[in-house]
Symmetry: C2
Subunit: 340 residues, 2 copies
């Protein structure tokens, strides 16, 4: 069975819909500019004839495909879900469709997906974090495809970011923990290689320790990928030390949930025997018992603002402006002071 047959043309569609070819073209390229009734008639003709617009030609004519690509590290665990949903809602309002790819935290996979999305005509890309090979930015530069980073705010990096200061957010949480009397600290971090968010959160813990005259060398660090089970394993390992930590700062809520559940399995009370904190404030953080003290990331706001900034870059052909969003500590039950 052949996949191809004599294809209907733009002319055929125009005739069937009783409009000019220019109107058909406008319907396909800038549908916002065509009144609803005409658009419906044209799309119905496109549909019934089985017309496939030549997208290369269309992109060339419109200089836009009204598609935006996003590459996120993972679709599991809802870490990026809420922000991405808000990003999609906003671009959709402005007439764009979102295509998402997930890299499983693999740089090679991310690069391949960037190329796939560019080749499929994406007008712009949303990427997570700044850590990647510089040649990818060269590639995007040559293709004139604007890209924006979210979930991290580093205004001096080569591409603009709409995000938050991971380092300062974690420093603030750590300072609070130290001020509550904790001195034996440990962290269960995501894999920091290739992940600026993970690396900067560890750095933030160390900043706070230095500022409070604790030695950075005393911080126990375990790096592992963001899975509940891995948080549990790492916690078990940390608590088997001779001098176990009184507070375990987790790189995100997923790891913290694993730590809390492992503590319970080991017969340790959270927070009376050990405090555990998260990062992100995803739904899991509220659902686990005890609920997690964590860093609230404004996921929806970040998604919406990233969408606005990226569309601005696409439509004005201007360099993007970085936007920093605030985070704050949400105090729940998993953190207890030692001074009280």
């Amino acid at each position: 069975m052949s996949k191809h047959r004599s294809a209907p043309t733009l002319d055929d569609v125009a005739k069937a819909a009783g409009v000019s070819t220019a109107t058909v073209s406008r319907c396909l390229n800038t549908p916002q500019q065509v009144v609803e009734a005409t658009r419906k008639r044209v799309l119905s003709a496109v549909d019934s004839l089985g017309y496939t617009p030549n997208f290369a030609a269309r992109v060339m004519a419109a200089r836009r495909s009204f598609t935006i690509g996003a590459i996120i590290p993972t679709m599991e665990n809802a870490i990026f879900a809420r922000g991405l949903q808000a990003f999609q809602e906003e671009i959709h309002k402005q007439g764009y469709t979102l295509l998402v790819s997930s890299s499983a935290y693999q740089p090679a996979a991310e690069e391949e997906q960037i190329r796939t999305l560019v080749a499929r005509g994406a007008d712009g890309l949303l990427l997570i974090g700044h850590d990647r090979d510089a040649q990818i930015y060269d590639y995007l530069e040559r293709r004139k495809v604007p890209a924006l980073v979210a979930w991290s705010f580093l205004p001096n990096e080569p591409i603009p970011s709409v995000g938050f200061d991971n380092r300062r957010a974690m420093e603030a949480l750590t300072s609070k923990i130290i001020e509550l009397g904790h001195t034996r600290l440990a962290t269960i971090s995501g894999i920091s290689k290739g992940n600026d968010r993970a690396r900067l959160r560890i750095q933030g813990i160390k900043d706070a320790m230095s500022r409070h005259d604790l030695s950075q060398d005393d911080l126990s660090v375990i790096e592992t990928s963001y899975e509940i089970e891995n948080g549990a394993d790492a916690f078990k390992h940390l608590m088997s030390n001779d001098n176990p930590p009184t507070a375990v700062l987790c790189g995100n809520d997923v790891l913290a949930v694993g730590a809390v559940r492992q503590a319970q399995q080991m017969g340790l009370r959270v927070p009376e025997d050990v405090s555990i904190t998260g990062f992100d404030d995803i739904e899991l953080a509220r659902i686990v018992a005890p609920a997690l003290t964590t860093v609230h990331v404004p996921h929806r706001d970040m998604g919406r603002k990233a969408a606005q900034a990226l569309i601005q870059m696409i439509e004005s052909n201007a360099p993007g402006k970085s936007v920093e969003l605030p985070t704050h500590i949400v105090g729940r039950e998993s953190l207890l002071g030692l001074n009280s």
Copy 2:
């Protein structure tokens, strides 16, 4: 600033890489068939020249773009995350890239996304559930783009499915609940219009009631969208009846988590005062306290098998075969017998 400039050609790439144009073409179309070293050389030339293959032409030549599209109802709440991740891992192993779109449970958005993915050259589509306008299937038929449904198994529908029997799964859970002595049943369901999974789960509850000589009319049904807060609101409403249910069957784990939390807020003990069950067995179901009795859906297995079936359809140009996967009840703490 113009977005376009004199573009490098296939010839330029072949010259730079020191290979024939046929080899360049093969690298772009069926990279699996080219030895690693050559492929790297060609891709490096493609990259350094900034060559953008004409994708329309490439798809025509290869009859394949090695891209598969998936349209899921939502990216939030991790309902589809695990299965989709497994789907992606499997297609990736076989040389395909996944592009995902989310419809927010809106048929019009889903239809637009199907058209976008087809226009971007998707070789095949993964869709969730069977409820959609028949004209979409006509459209896919005309475009010769194979599509496969997951999360539902209805072998007599127009397109094949790799999923499970939502109706029978919920009937089994309900039977168990009735056999434990519950007769006053209620359900907090997803919106059933346009969602066969939600509709069939309600039907499964009614099947079990009939089989156990309970009147289907006695089932209280609230339909709401799958958000924790909505589960909480619906639960509150159900419990304000004069004769409140002793068991609340929720359409998924997200709604059930909302119900459990609302019960706790109302001072009701789960399961001593009221039993609550979920559906899906996502991570939230294990994390909430008490942990949910729920229907385990084999998310990863379903994702992997759906990928295999869809690639088979794409590569052999054959009609797809439906595959039914088993579900089972996971007994945790949120369900208690009244007989004991």
